[in-house]
Symmetry: C2
């Protein structure tokens, strides 16, 4: 259940209630692809970096260790020991981006596993069953992610199919939540808006899925290579047709500036691998701008990465030491940097919420955009 | 300063005083080669797994980031944030095992870096200067590690040179500790006994170095491929000639059973990469025997690795989850397993000390040897 607390123009301050606790929005989901954050970050660490909600990938967990194995272990919460909300994606995005030899029919998709080439079928019912086995707090609808740019006629056909798939997802989820053996019988379902960069398709599709009265709505198929301005334009067009009383999730986005701009356009929820992926290459977000810890000038710099940061790395370790660890290929380097960047993202969201609470989001956004553009 | 508290036959219970605190012996040093334990384990984590003393490698730190850089950062303690005792090896073992194109003279060794092939000279004075720059609590003498088996004549010649090198080490360390710019002006120096597997050479060399009245004595050049019984035999022969009032360190040893047997023969201090290296491959030490977490039978096993273990992994995570992480190549898997094995080693040493305190070391050793031989 989503409660809209207040707005500043289109920007929304809200609370999202789940059977694993409350999520203060706007919020960023920390990505634990295979049930763990890359870089040796544990469920315990996630609490230390201010994570409210974790995201795991259905496709990866279906292939390894297998969703039925996770169910035998009591579901993802018991398996990973993360006790807060977990959102699982539908597997659709990975099927369309990672797997090979895809064949799409009305029923679903046949594809080859990127691990061992094994042929796998996934349709709406399969995706719901897998996510039910994983026992996540929120399941995502199984959709087709069409590559940009796409032909209008194909984009339209795909959108209509994604709506039909969503109806099947909802029916299957209702059925699964009634079973006594289901891990989380209150599993929520979010629908996903598609339509490539065609605003009329986006709007038509959004109207269709809004009618299904789901627990939340996502905008999918963006941040896949299109210009940033196109992404913002799609959000601006589709947002007026998203239910006001439901949480809104922009999938796979993005940079801190992207997030500020999407909040500005009425989005509540985000996820992205950028903080952890950038961290592992030494690219850091700080309160003074972007930092590349590989730079020689840090080789004897005993200051923390960011003296205004409250992350476990900045509380104890120096730029010089962390830079050395990264250069020497020591896992500890990656771990500390991932903790730092995740803390930055979670803290940015907390600062956005505070600015909304204090009716100064626009000033905050302008200031942050200036800082975030700097390289230090 | 070493204080012998009590003995049980040759086994010794002692306390080793350093300017970074007390080490209860017998003790195991946790190996942080490049200033961090492999597997993403931090100085903070080392406290959690019961580490008393950390070991870092002079050769690795000299090459990267460079000992002068570490000195600029205030020494290894400030650099790594580990505030307990640190022992640095001399670089000798790595020069003789990792580097290529070695040329040994009376002065020292010219070799090529294993990173970039750069030609480097290291002799007793260079090794002391580097370790002084690192500012470790304990420096090790620069010695030649002769490969086993070696010709008797070469082994003898090398031993005599190692004694001459040790005299130069002591002189240089005395000089460095007088300098105001030195990081740790109370740096201690341990001598290293060599002599391959020739007991008469071992004894002759031990007598020579005992005369130099150093802060501790190590047995080097063992655990390099010779049969275990030969290693035990060398210790038995050389031990009577090791000063009673100095700490005794068996370098690079070993398995838990090796450690029990070396304690039995009068050794106080150990180091080995085995707990962390084995952990990264899923080979674990437990209170019921050796476990391979890769085994299929653990795929839905929600028990901890060892229900009698107090490590951070066993306190929270299941066999099934950790096994999955290792299979999926998630760093968190390696991290949790390294924490487990280090805790096991540190806890084994604590149990050895308790057994010595309670005059039941021999019973403890017999029981442990039975358990440690089991595969579960």
């Amino acid at each position: 259940m989503f409660k809209l607390i207040k707005t500043e123009n289109n920007a929304r301050r809200g609370e999202f209630y789940t059977n694993r606790g409350l999520v203060q929005t706007p919020a960023f989901m920390n990505v634990a692809t295979a049930g763990a954050i890359k870089g040796g970050v544990s469920a315990k660490d996630l609490k230390d970096v201010g994570c409210q909600i974790m995201l795991s990938n259905t496709y990866h967990l279906h292939i390894r260790p297998g969703d039925e194995k996770v169910k035998e272990c009591g579901g993802l919460h018991k398996f990973t020991t993360w006790d807060g909300p977990i959102l699982t994606d539908s597997g659709g995005f990975q099927v369309f981006s990672l797997a090979s030899l895809r064949n799409i029919t009305e029923e679903g998709v046949i594809f080859a596993s990127h691990i061992d080439g094994k042929r796998i079928f996934m349709g709406p019912e399969e995706s719901m069953t897998i996510q039910s086995n994983l026992g996540s707090t929120i399941a995502m609808a199984f959709d087709e992610c069409v590559e940009n740019p796409a032909e209008y006629s194909y984009a339209r056909e795909s959108c209509m199919r994604t709506t039909r798939w969503l109806e099947r997802c909802k029916a299957k989820m209702t059925e699964l939540n009634l079973l006594e053996t289901t891990v989380n019988r209150e599993q929520m379902l979010f629908g996903i808006n598609q339509g490539c960069t065609y605003n009329d398709l986006r709007i038509e599709h959004m109207k269709q899925i809004a009618d299904l009265d789901l627990d939340g709505y996502a905008i999918g198929g963006l941040a896949v290579g299109e210009p940033t301005e196109v992404m913002y334009d799609v959000i601006e067009h589709v947002e007026p047709f998203m239910p006001n009383d439901k949480i809104r999730y922009l999938m796979g986005v993005g940079t801190p500036v992207n997030i500020l701009n999407a909040v500005d356009r009425g989005v509540d929820l985000f996820d992205c691998v950028m903080p952890s992926r950038n961290a592992r290459h030494g690219h850091l977000f700080t309160s003074r701008g972007i930092m590349n810890i590989n730079n020689n000038k840090y080789d004897t710099d005993m200051a923390p990465i960011d003296d205004r940061c409250g992350c476990p790395a900045c509380q104890r370790y120096s730029r010089a030491y962390i830079r050395h660890l990264l250069k020497a290929g020591e896992m500890l380097g990656a771990r500390l940097l991932v903790l730092h960047n995740l803390w930055f993202y979670n803290n940015l969201m907390a600062a956005i919420r505070k600015a909304l609470d204090e009716d100064c989001f626009y000033q905050f956004k302008r200031d942050q955009e200036q800082i975030l553009g700097k390289r230090i």
